[in-house]
């Protein structure tokens, strides 16, 4: 049996981070404490990136996909992007800009396509969710929305031009 270890979790889009304490009982069996409530968890990680969890006797089939520091978690029909860091990593990060959607955000093209319309100009004030650029791909027009409220500080996208996946389209601060 090991002692307890603390991780700090943050779901993308959530305002607060949630600490989770984990203590291993024996291989695959844990007690996890979230918001003061302990859960008995029997967890088996499968090869393809899934976890079978028994939480207090209830069965949850969870699919995981790691991408960088984050992990995408699919359970039932809920799909969440969770950033998990142990305490040391969190304190290291404290000096950097990260761990929130503050600061500068670069909006990039999610796939190859064509810029059909640019809806904002540099200097524009935008709200979270406001349309910024329309890109056509797979025969459909797709509006890219602002991930946060702020000011458009640069626009790289040009109407009518082709863009590659991940091409920078504009920056919001």
């Amino acid at each position: 049996m090991n002692g307890s270890k603390r991780y700090v979790t943050r779901v993308r889009g959530a305002r607060e981070s949630v600490p989770v304490d984990i203590a291993e009982q024996d291989e695959g069996n844990y007690v996890l404490t979230v918001r003061g409530r302990p859960h008995t968890v029997d967890a088996r990680v499968l090869d393809h990136g899934a976890v079978s969890l028994l939480v207090d006797g209830r069965s949850y089939d969870v699919e995981l996909d790691e991408s960088g520091d984050e992990v995408q978690v699919l359970v039932g029909f809920e799909l969440l992007t969770v950033d998990v860091a142990d305490e040391r990593a969190v304190s290291l990060r404290a000096g950097t800009a990260g761990f929130s959607v503050s600061g500068k955000v670069v909006v990039t093209a999610p796939m190859p396509g064509k810029v059909v319309r640019v809806l904002v100009a540099p200097g524009a004030q935008v709200t979270e969710g406001q349309g910024l650029v329309v890109v056509e791909a797979m025969k459909m027009e797709n509006e890219l929305k602002s991930p946060k409220a702020g000011t458009v500080i640069a626009v790289f996208a040009k109407e009518g031009s082709a863009v590659e996946a991940n091409a920078k389209l504009l920056t919001v601060e």
Partner: protein, 505 residues
Amino acid sequence: MAQGTSPIRKVLIANRGEIAVRIIRSCRDLGIPTVAIYSDADRVALHVRMADEAFRVGPPPSRESYLSFERILDAAKASGADAIHPGYGFLSENAAFVRACEAAGIVFIGPPASAMDAMGEKTRARANMEKAGVPVVPGSNAPFPSVGEARAYAEKIGFPVMLKAAGGGGGKGMRRVERLADFDSAWRAAQSEALNAFGNDAVYLEKYLDEPHHVEIQVFADQAGNTVHLNERECSAQRRHQKVVEETPSPILTPEMRAAMGEVAVRAAKAVGYVGAGTVEFLVDKHRNFYFLEMNTRLQVEHPVTEWVTGLDLVASQIRVARGEPLGFRTEPPRGHSIEVRVYAEDPAQNFMPSPGRITYLRVPSGPNVRDDSGVYPGYTVPTVYDPMISKVSVWAPSRPEAIARMRRALSEYVVKGITTNIRYLHAILAHPDFVGGNYDTGFLPRAHSALLGRHDHALGEVALLAAVVDAYQRDARRRRSLTPVSGQRAGPSPWRLRTRGSRR
């Protein structure tokens, strides 16, 4: 379709994706070898892997591959295929292609070119249907010479009106105009969109029906002109005029309405000398008046629900009719209830943006009365250039509530990793009170949009945190111990391993 009997010994499928796979399956059931065609983007697509033969027809853009008469007919000749099944989309409603097949001595598995002509341009179809006594939505039958005349006609039938591309389909080039002031700019936009999409700027207009139901009738005709209907499909769950969920029977139809609409649909088909599988689409208003909308002169995406309640294989029936065989069935009341959903590689939360990419893991729903018509496989990369529909799930049950429950269960079993899909959104539709209630119109999905996206299960959110932390903990532990993954199962020895090992080498 060339009249008379044609043996059909090998079928080329002029399509891709799930419908190409669907057609291969029926051909295989009938013992007919199949020829796939593929663009460079589809070399390892499922339909290519499943077909008996496969021929490249060009680079990824459809215009240079799946729409190329010449290359497709060349592939047919090279492979010795004596018939072509067009699927839906692409060349399936292209009368010129039908004529090119005829000229090449190849059976086109579909209606004759003349029937396509009669139904292809929407204004001509309207005129033909009015002549045949089929009720149509008030509107124009001919393109207008000027925006002024169009505007005057719109004022006459009253706003709101709907502008539609005469040569179009699939919801493209459609535009609703609420008031006179918006008319001129909307008209020009519709013309330019129609020109870009269909190479034809003809636009017509119709009275806009407020939140109608979209109900369609499946018809089938043999070469001798025997024509029957196979009941309706309710397709009102639409987004941007794209169907998302379909079911049969329609929860709003009485047996009397079904009989009346079926009779009209058969009349419409007979009026144009229809042969094979076709669908007559109607709009049904609040007073349960129904109006001819258009005829799709091909197999529909949503044909599986009709197959569930009739027991027919519509693709096999198309082939039999193309061979000159008589219809082996007649109209019968629907047996039980069937629902289909369309699974897309798209992200409903990001304005339904397509989400191509590699499917890293796939587990499809199964069990009693669940059918998955898929065009993908684990490890497949959904390409960026084509329609992002990856699969259709359909279910059958004795009653509508049971079918809804079964579909919700089936969707809960569907696991696709690597790309974003609309499975959660589909499940939300099946759980929405308006859908469950059964009286949903074409305004349902737009109205319910935020409700369909918004419902989150907070208990599951907490489970997600637990899973993420266990995963991180185990990863850290592995890093510390440099051990292999903790798992409830040990990986077995060599796959397909040999039962009796020799001392070879």
